[in-house]
Symmetry: C2
Subunit: 356 residues, 2 copies
């Protein structure tokens, strides 16, 4: 059924022969560089048309060393955060006639290292990655030593020669937290899927900028309200639905349980909502929920979710623009992206406590 027919594709040599010119002349006419007499150009173009000539991009890449391809490494394209960012990346890439090659890592460092190696072997022109670790970065350094631009999506890694496209979440996270405090909440939990590694500060991890950013926003708001943050309420490495359910169970079982929960991303938010619903915990009657991430269905959850909405599409777009600018040796101007709070109905006044 799928036997490969032997009719070879036409090459420059074929076109040249048919047009009665030399190979290099044909190549010049087709590639529109160097100088060709307009008469010859027309003849070559006509021959190409007749033979249905299409340049072999692989051969072209081999010779130029460029592939017009961007390698994109995300943890999971199913996650709306990354699918939206990827759409931004492909749209920007497309506009500059670049292509996008995709790899999922499932937040697995080994997979990320592998993806980098494969992309480098395939001679992508640049790599855009949302790195899973801020500490194991030899493979990322290898990208730079190979001479290719590296763009970090959403996370900044210190000591790495790379462009970072960051969305500032802190101000919006601060605003959302302050709003909760205004509504009487003093026990505010934060649940994150982040795989922490490396140093920590007052029990909280440090190093991956987007986390610091979210946390700083939250902690600053608490500090301003003279609320001492309780390490018990800050949970990292919550990666599965089961783990989320456990954490919710633990939090609700606390002597002084949280009255509000902040979710680091949309997947965590979903699992939290699921766990709360299973336990018939009223939202926002018993506990307020705010997601520090947005997704297409957030207006339609029950109840409609209050979110901190980061401009992810724009971040992806900017990342690809930065990558392409670097490839083509233009100096890019960094864009400043800010998340904003969208108030809906999943947050409300803190419930009055049964025990004073």
């Amino acid at each position: 059924m799928f036997e490969r027919p032997l009719n070879r594709e036409a090459t420059v040599a074929d076109v040249a022969r048919r047009a009665g010119v030399g190979k290099s002349t044909a190549s010049r006419a087709l590639g529109s560089y160097g100088s060709v007499s307009s008469e010859v150009r027309l003849r070559v173009l006509a021959a190409a048309e007749e033979l249905d000539y299409r340049p072999n991009e692989v051969a072209r890449s081999m010779n130029t060393g460029r592939s017009r391809t961007l390698g994109v490494i995300v943890s999971d394209i199913e996650n709306p955060y990354f699918s939206v960012a990827t759409r931004g990346i492909t749209d920007a890439a497309n506009a500059s006639r670049y292509n996008v090659i995709l790899a999922n890592t499932s937040e697995n460092l080994e997979a990320e290292i592998h993806a980098v190696r494969v992309f480098l072997d395939k001679r992508v022109d640049a790599i855009i990655v949302a790195p899973s670790s801020a500490y194991q970065i030899e493979h990322l350094k290898a990208i730079r030593t190979s001479g290719r631009p590296l763009v970090l999506l959403d996370r900044k890694v210190p000591g790495l020669d790379a462009v970072s496209v960051e969305v500032s979440i802190a101000p919006a996270a601060h605003e959302a937290t302050s709003r909760l405090v205004e509504l009487g909440h003093t026990r505010i939990a934060y649940i994150s899927s982040l795989q922490t590694d490396g140093d920590s500060f007052a029990g909280f991890p440090l190093g991956i900028s987007s986390v610091e950013d979210r946390l700083h926003g939250i902690l600053d708001a608490l500090k301003e309200a003279a609320i001492r943050p309780d390490p018990e309420l800050i949970r990292f490495k919550v990666v599965t639905m089961e783990r989320t359910a456990e954490v919710i169970e633990e939090l609700l079982g606390l002597a002084d349980p949280p009255t509000a929960i902040l979710a680091s991303d949309s997947t965590i938010a979903r699992d939290i909502l699921l766990a709360l619903r299973e336990r018939d915990v009223g939202i926002p009657a018993n506990v307020s929920v705010i997601a520090l991430d947005d997704f297409p269905w957030s207006p339609l959850t029950g109840p409609p979710l209050t979110v901190v909405s980061p401009p992810i599409y724009e971040a992806g777009f900017a990342a690809a623009v930065a990558a392409i600018d670097a490839i083509e040796e233009r100096t890019a101007k960094p864009v400043a992206l800010q998340a904003r709070v969208i108030y809906r109905n999943s947050h409300g006044p803190a419930p009055t406590r049964s025990v004073g």
Copy 2:
């Protein structure tokens, strides 16, 4: 900042020189084919290690004619349907050491044609596409004449030499419709984003299998219940949020408005829910809603959405497996995929009519 260093990557020739052997011997040792004495193999491998040699996949592609790359063309990676399918594709591709290159078309035929051309120029080994039209298929035929396998995701196109990975929706659509009928619904609307073109049957388009499939399930169920389908309640080409709102407005304004609405996919479902909520139409009190598609947030909408859930990840996975089997000239066994109904709370008894 991004100056390209001049330290060339090591090539087979470099490795050969360092190991003190010929180019082809080194090549054999590295590629583990042909015969090499184990002593020489070790020497070559050591040299490669020392030089940090990595094969140039572009050069390899150039003379094998294969790129170990799958081209994937979807309308929008932001759509959970396609992001989940793409995850399935990349997972299957990865397992066989293939890569995935991605293009979005926004349901635009021109963009699809362009993507096919670019992928062919880049010498992908196969193309997986959810085609936007069942009639304009010259570009798809070009894939086959180029000698590359073509796999159609979710849609079957008659007269095209391609493998189709289909999910049978009809039985589940039939079941869901019958359930609505049991609950007293006789006015059941179907809203689809599909860009119809070509022939139609009794006012309904034909040719794109997945649509036929959904429609047949619905129409058969109505027929069994002796309910005459009303063309007024079947709407195609509903592609924007604004258009969805208009259609909802029109439907609700009908003399005999629908008491249940079937949404063809999750995006339409979202827009329908949004439009109904804006008009304060109670779900399912005033109108039942069922989506003929699933997505991660369906259990958490307000109210939790009753859906026809197709195994999309599996469909994507199967599509990539089929593509790779065809590339490697294995005969693939087609997989039968079935959607199933997940009953939740967005459907209920038909409201009693004010006017008999």
